[in-house]
Symmetry: C3
Subunit: 150 residues, 3 copies
């Protein structure tokens, strides 16, 4: 990759599969694994169920997250996330898709306060360049510096 | 991995991409591929459409699945699943996200009776330790023994 | 693989992680990366947010897509797609799951006209056989010739 604004190429190195503990905080649990295994770049996914969820929705006009609390048991249809660095530490950015007893789907940005009923994850760790999150003036979010576009 | 309760590390070995046949049962079709290819550990994903869906929602209080039947054509926004062993055989655990003609999303645990209109899958097979599903007293589900938490 | 109708096996070769630019067309941006990197087979995923979305729903009876326009900011809970060839060029087939400010989820087939607010992707490129999309009489879709079933 000679274009510093182009997509960054990584090499797959390790794959982890496992489950979080019943009652554990979903985001804290995943972050803990990534820090313990020293994963600086990678992807994360999973499925399972929560006893309650705390999600964020980013208000693009006001440039702030607001919280969506779902205080009942829900299936996790999909957790999708990535791992990069923020302030030098492994950082998990993940979005969650959930469903209720009638099959309706909900979702948002995974925040602390989402409690695991059962959760099975796959985490892939890569070797390669470092992607570090920095404040982005355009969106108000912490994005990868120089990683955008072609 | 010296911690028997920690995440299990695998090595990627094979990737399969292909499609199921029109009219095939989605869960049975995926399970058949995993057994034919002797995949004991891995991940599975896909997108496409169904002519009808049969989903499960796990009632965490009553500790039983109930069925959600969606008897109309729907897009498959995401199938996300994993492959491990149950009673010594490759077993697919997958959750499905669907959408209707108005764009509303639905989903749940993939059960038999979900019929493929068109489906394109990616299956990744790994080498490594065996994760076997066993009955878990806490949740009433068949989970990976010793795979939880840190 | 001796069965020409069976699943096709690939070898992982490259992984890309990066972000699209604010204001970019989501499908055009991903297609551009796949063509520039000459990715003929692979998978694609991502999360982020859009300022508006243009989705398709396939009417299985009328054998035609109709459009679903969502003209407001939404979270991208999941983009899931694959990369193969169509008319000799790398072609992205992707489905999108979105959520609104109340947490309700929506989705459909990703079409041109979906505008990136922020988007972080993972693209995996594989080496192996060529999967080429061709018109399928049964469904009216462009599917992989000979890739179906077992």
């Amino acid at each position: 990759m000679t274009n510093p604004r182009g997509p960054r190429a990584f090499r797959p190195s390790r794959v982890f599969m496992g489950s979080l503990s019943h009652g554990e905080d979903l985001l804290a649990g995943l972050t803990s694994i990534c820090r313990q295994e020293e994963i600086r770049s990678g992807r994360i996914e999973g499925l399972g169920a929560v006893s309650k969820a705390n999600l964020g929705f980013y208000d693009q006009d006001r440039r702030a997250y607001h919280s969506i609390e779902l205080a009942s048991p829900l299936e996790i249809l999909s957790l999708k996330g990535n791992i990069s660095l923020k302030e030098g530490e492994p950082f998990v950015h993940a979005h969650l898709t959930l469903s209720d007893a009638s099959g309706r789907a909900f979702g948002g940005h995974l925040a602390l306060g989402t409690v695991v009923f059962a959760f099975e994850y796959v985490i892939e760790a890569w070797e390669g360049p470092v992607l570090e999150r920095r404040f982005d003036e355009t969106t108000g979010l912490f994005l990868w510096d120089g990683g955008g576009g072609l």
